[in-house]
């Protein structure tokens, strides 16, 4: 019931995202762009600019929120998310390196490098975090993530300083942007989004159990290793695909799971689907704001996120991170 309402609001946001923008297009025209396409400028804007953008915002928002929710459950760390723990930075660096070395054009090709970058970083953060005093505590993990993010970002910057050409290719992407992607690119990463989301939703029950602690979950007969690996694969797919198509958009994977938990509760069977819907709605709205706030100039949505995310992050650290 609640899910149906959520989906309805999501659809409204998609429609809003299609209809609102720098050029005013009436709703009826949006509708006609799909059922009676006539090649006019308005129809062209809707079908080649706004539609890909809305679809990408929907899936990237959902993917990052779900990835964040999984990471928070797995690590039992309230500030875990793809952005904070460096997974986003790792995937970004991999994409930049690929662009720099191979001059790759096809997204279907470099999305794989984004996965590899995300996976290596995730393993690295886990390893670094467990070296700290007291093992894999939330604070150690967060510090490891921050350190690795800085490290990877500086390499990214280094490459971009050295290579003007790479910089030109990824400049807008690197700020986290949903603009200027055509539908083809979206189709190329869609399978990974779907696979990642299906894996995640299939794990709902298991993640709830795992959030009671590894010993409890094992005692109840869960194969925790299998669950953790599947969950990690899902995170890498979701975060990697998001970075590949939209660049590093941070904080959404941090904020949305908390909002969802406050509204829906801690059962991952419900938490995950709702997080997906809320994440999609949130990014659609943020993208709309990025488009409309400074008309006619547009700013990348990745730059809007920290404005909302940073204060939220500080609040979380102050209220929830215990040693």
């Amino acid at each position: 019931m609640g899910l149906a309402v959520g989906v309805l609001i999501l659809l409204l946001c998609v429609v809003g995202n299609l209809a609102l923008g720098v050029s005013d297009i009436p709703l009826a025209e949006v509708y006609r762009a799909f059922v009676a396409y006539d090649g006019s400028t308005e129809h062209l804007i809707i079908r080649t600019i706004r539609l890909p953008r809305s679809l990408i915002a929907t899936f990237v928002g959902a993917a990052l929120a779900v990835a964040g929710a999984i990471m928070q459950g797995l690590t039992r760390n309230p500030v875990a998310s793809p952005g904070i723990l460096g997974v986003t930075a790792g995937a970004s660096l991999a994409v930049v390196i690929t662009t720099f070395l191979l001059n790759a054009e096809s997204l279907g090709f470099y999305v794989w490098f984004a996965f590899i970058g995300a996976a290596i970083t995730a393993i690295g953060v886990y390893f670094l975090g467990s070296l700290g005093p007291g093992g894999l505590t939330p604070i150690n993990l967060t510090i490891a993530g921050a350190a690795l993010t800085e490290f990877l970002s500086s390499i990214t910057s280094g490459i971009l300083i050295v290579s003007q050409q790479t910089l030109d290719q990824v400049r807008f992407w690197l700020a986290g942007s949903l603009a200027g992607r055509d539908l083809d690119l979206f189709w190329q990463v869609l399978p990974y989004f779907i696979l990642g989301l299906l894996l995640a939703l299939g794990l709902g029950r298991q993640l709830t159990m795992l959030s009671l602690g590894e010993d409890v979950a094992k005692g109840l007969g869960q194969r925790t290793i299998f669950v953790k690996i599947t969950a990690a694969v899902s995170v890498v797919l979701l975060a990697g695909a998001s970075v590949a198509i939209a660049g590093p958009i941070i904080f959404i994977g941090l904020i949305i799971p908390h909002i969802t938990r406050a509204l829906i509760g801690v059962d991952y069977r419900w938490l995950l689907p709702y997080a997906a819907i809320f994440g999609a709605i949130f990014l659609l709205l943020a993208d709309l704001a990025a488009r409309l706030l400074f008309q006619p100039q547009e700013i990348p949505v990745g730059l809007v996120m920290p404005l909302i995310g940073a204060p939220f992050f500080i609040h979380l650290v102050r209220s929830q991170v215990k040693r």
Partner: protein
């Protein structure tokens, strides 16, 4: 019949052996208390018995079969474990927690059955948690929270129940509450209960069988009357004491006198 046994069991953490070459048979349908000083390995042993810790050498047998070769879900239908001070995510309700205990009986096809529903209601009722079923765990007192966790283990419906210090951090009334609940389970439902206990007198009073662990090995085991001696308390805990019968139920009761000075009296 002993359903849970170990042979040659060696358990270690980070390469350091904690439990060494242990032979132990845990009598069925009885309450066994594992006692010993801090760091003796009793909690490690409990985790090993529950297949949470992989043995370095040796084997744990459940009904004669190697526990590590059984499917973990099949084990979870016969043996439940409650770790020490488990933590639930904020906001989880008692009912949701107890429902987790039904996991071993579910699969992709059979998600939630009428029997699951009944078992959860039964577990809530037996543990006296029915009236708190819809409350969040973090809004309950320590004693209620512990009862909720025990209710989860009850919903798991296993004949063997392992508990790691179920009374720690509880005040006296709640300690007695938990121990009486476990005793009731043992007597009315024939459940085998194996628990790590800190308090020797509680162990002697509630357990049929006491296992004293010292530095990863069994110092002694048997009925509390045989095991709980002044020599044992002195050797294992380093405390001089008198053992007197409990004035109410007659089980041995330890009255500590002073810390033993470096084993002097024993050698004399």
């Amino acid at each position: 019949m002993n359903r849970l046994e170990t042979k040659h069991l060696t358990l270690s953490y980070d390469g350091t052996p904690i439990i060494k070459d242990l032979y132990l048979a845990l009598p069925s349908q009885q309450i066994t208390a594992l006692v010993g000083p801090n760091g003796c390995g009793k909690s490690t042993l409990l985790r090993g018995l529950a297949r949470l810790l992989k043995p370095r050498r040796g084997t744990v047998y459940l009904d004669g079969a190697e526990i590590s070769k059984l499917s973990t879900k099949a084990v979870a239908k016969r043996l439940g474990i409650l770790p020490q001070s488990p933590i639930a995510p904020e906001g989880l309700t008692v009912r949701d927690l107890v429902a987790q205990g039904r996991y071993p009986y579910q699969n992709w096809l059979q998600q939630w059955s009428k029997q699951d529903e009944e078992m959860v209601a039964w577990a809530l009722d037996l543990s006296g948690m029915t009236e708190f079923a819809d409350r969040a765990l973090d809004h309950l007192s320590g004693g209620q929270r512990q009862r909720a966790w025990i209710a989860m283990a009850l919903a798991q419906d296993t004949e063997i129940l392992l508990l790691d210090e179920p009374t720690t951090f509880l005040d006296l009334a709640h300690q007695i509450d938990i121990l009486e609940l476990l005793l009731q389970l043992n007597q009315t439902q024939d459940r085998t209960i194996i628990m790590v206990l800190h308090d020797l007198n509680q162990a002697a009073r509630y357990a049929d069988n006491m296992v004293v662990i010292q530095q990863g090995e069994i110092y002694d085991q048997g009925r509390p009357k045989q095991v709980m001696t002044e020599a044992m308390v002195s050797n294992v805990f380093g405390v001089n004491s008198r053992i007197v019968p409990d004035p109410v139920v007659g089980t041995p009761m330890c009255v500590p006198l002073s810390r033993r000075t470096a084993g002097k009296e024993l050698r004399d």
